[in-house]
């Protein structure tokens, strides 16, 4: 079996936005514990180096992606990125002192809305999480959660009143997740919000939110500010979870019915041996033995 770092190397990871005027020509960052440099050339193309060795690099979904592998798995597909009547909004990065997997799991959670995003994505007494469906899409090996419904006072920048929002969640790879939610301005389509997570190491990550919305009212700055506010509220939670790494074995944390997606996510990570940023009972025992 591959070790968890070797397994994590097979995926693509975001390391910057495609358009970023503030980034220097040689931008130093970190990925999976490696120090890397993102070089932006005059013609607008990119290179990535680690110890002078070039890594694969590609542009997708508003971001620059790289992989340490010589033969990375293909990047997951987001068909909505081809729908050009949408507005595509890369929101910048939020650095979080937590495991990349904790950041993804929090994105999949709705029960925290009334307490963490009070009066925006949720409000008491509307705390109930109704039954919803979670399945693994065998063809693409993705987690899909459907019929996730929740009352929201202000579901998006473009929403003025409270509505029952209907969500679909999708986890196409261990450190990326997307949601499709009721669009406040149009009934027949759904807004897409994604988080692409850059694992700096097992205990630190940079979260790159990206949106593909039907919103022709709000300014770009307002939409970004809205999303940044949401993620800063999440950061306060993520940096105060103990342990930092995502406990992957049952009984280490106690779920309830509302955590169906999170339970499926942990199982799926374990099944796929995607344990970079995870804590297994085995690693916990090893840590204790070292003390």
């Amino acid at each position: 079996m591959k070790c968890k770092l070797e397994r994590a190397k097979d995926d693509w990871y975001p390391i910057g936005m495609l358009t970023d005027n503030k980034r220097s020509k040689h931008h130093a960052t970190r990925l999976l514990g490696f120090d890397i440099v993102l070089e932006t050339k005059r013609d607008g193309t990119f290179s990535v180096f680690c110890d002078n060795e070039p890594w694969h690099v590609m542009a997708a979904y508003g971001h620059v992606w790289t992989s340490p592998s010589k033969t990375p798995k293909p990047l997951f597909d987001v068909p909505e990125a081809e729908e050009y009547d949408r507005r595509f909004v890369p929101c910048g990065e939020v650095h979080v002192n937590c495991s990349p997997l904790r950041a993804v799991e929090n994105f999949l959670d709705i029960a925290h809305f009334p307490f963490v995003h009070t009066d925006i994505l949720g409000a008491e007494p509307h705390t109930e999480v109704m039954p919803y469906n979670v399945k693994i899409d065998e063809k693409n090996d993705e987690i899909i959660a459907t019929k996730v419904k929740f009352f929201q006072p202000q579901a998006a920048k473009s929403a003025s009143d409270g509505i029952i929002t209907d969500y679909i969640y999708r986890v196409p790879s261990p450190m990326n997740a997307l949601l499709y939610k009721t669009c406040p301005s149009r009934d027949e389509v759904r807004d897409v919000i994604a988080i692409f997570v850059q694992p700096l190491d097992e205990d630190n990550c940079a979260v790159w939110p990206w949106m593909a919305l039907y919103d022709d009212q709000s300014s770009m700055a307002d939409m970004i500010e809205f999303q940044q506010l949401i993620f800063l509220q999440d950061r306060n939670i993520l940096e105060n979870q103990i342990p930092k790494r995502l406990p992957i074995d049952p009984k280490m944390e106690i779920p309830t019915r509302a955590d169906l997606t999170s339970v499926a996510y942990r199982r799926w990570l374990k099944k796929n041996a995607a344990l970079y940023g995870a804590l297994t009972q085995m690693t916990e025992k090893n840590l204790e033995a070292k003390k």
């Binding site: 959670d109 029960a111 925290h112 009334p114 307490f115 963490v116 008491e124 705390t127 109930e128 999480v129 306060n236 939670i237 105060n240 979870q241 103990i242 342990p243 406990p247 944390e253 106690i254 779920p255 309830t256 019915r257 509302a258």
Partner: protein
């Protein structure tokens, strides 16, 4: 040290929550609306959130992340995502023995009853964090003269090992102070200062200034002991 002072009773009001470190253990302290004090492991068993970020709802402590309610026994009583669900009785938090004596909140993580024999009828003066270890403050205390114009001097009196307390006299005020230490990780500690004698407002200020000097002196000592 079995019993550790974590703060003044008066600084934790009804309905409030605080965090404390006792022998490197992360602890949440909270007081219910009716005034009952609890000290627990600072971690919600659901998703690991520090409960010291939570909020008091009547006689229960609610986690900030998903609002799960825990009663004063540490048992989960309410899960807002499922308002009609009776939470399984197995969901609970580790409790630690805590009590109040002499205006101080004490926590005993080995859960031995009893507590420190001293500190009756003391008046809380100040709780302050020092960026150095307890040993360093004690060393400074053995021969400390405040450089202020007031020339307050702390004279070492004796040490009560059982409660991690140093009893000192402040001259020329003639007041007896109990300095109770709480060790913290990373070369830090808390000093909880209480007076055994009644003080006038001006005397409080003089004592407080003297403690400021003690802190400065302790933090800037050469790193013989760290």
């Amino acid at each position: 040290m079995d019993c550790v002072a974590v703060g003044f009773s008066k600084n934790l009001q009804n309905g409030r929550v605080m965090r404390a470190l006792v022998n490197e253990k992360d602890i949440v302290l909270w007081r219910s609306r009716s005034g009952q004090l609890s000290a627990w492991e600072n971690r919600c068993p659901h998703r690991g959130m520090r409960l010291s970020h939570g909020f008091v709802r009547g006689e229960a402590l609610a986690c900030m992340y998903h609002g799960w309610h825990y009663d004063s026994e540490g048992k989960c009583r309410y899960i807002p995502a499922h308002p009609d669900l009776d939470p399984p009785t197995t969901i609970g938090i580790e409790k630690y023995f805590s009590f109040e004596k002499g205006g101080i909140i004490w926590v005993d993580i080995r859960n031995k009853t009893g507590g420190p024999p001293i500190v009756e009828n003391l008046i809380p003066i100040r709780s302050m964090e020092f960026h150095c270890k307890v040993e360093r403050v004690e060393r400074v205390l053995t021969n400390f003269e405040s450089p202020s114009s007031h020339k307050s001097t702390i004279r070492f009196y004796h040490v009560d090992q059982r409660a991690n307390t140093v009893i000192v006299k402040i001259k020329p005020l003639g007041k007896t102070l109990h300095l109770i230490f709480q060790e913290l990780p990373n070369f830090r500690c808390f000093l909880h200062a209480l007076s055994a004698d009644k003080c006038e407002v001006g005397q409080y200020k003089a004592i407080s200034r003297c403690l400021d000097h003690l802190r400065r002196e302790s933090e800037t000592q050469l790193d013989i002991l760290k």
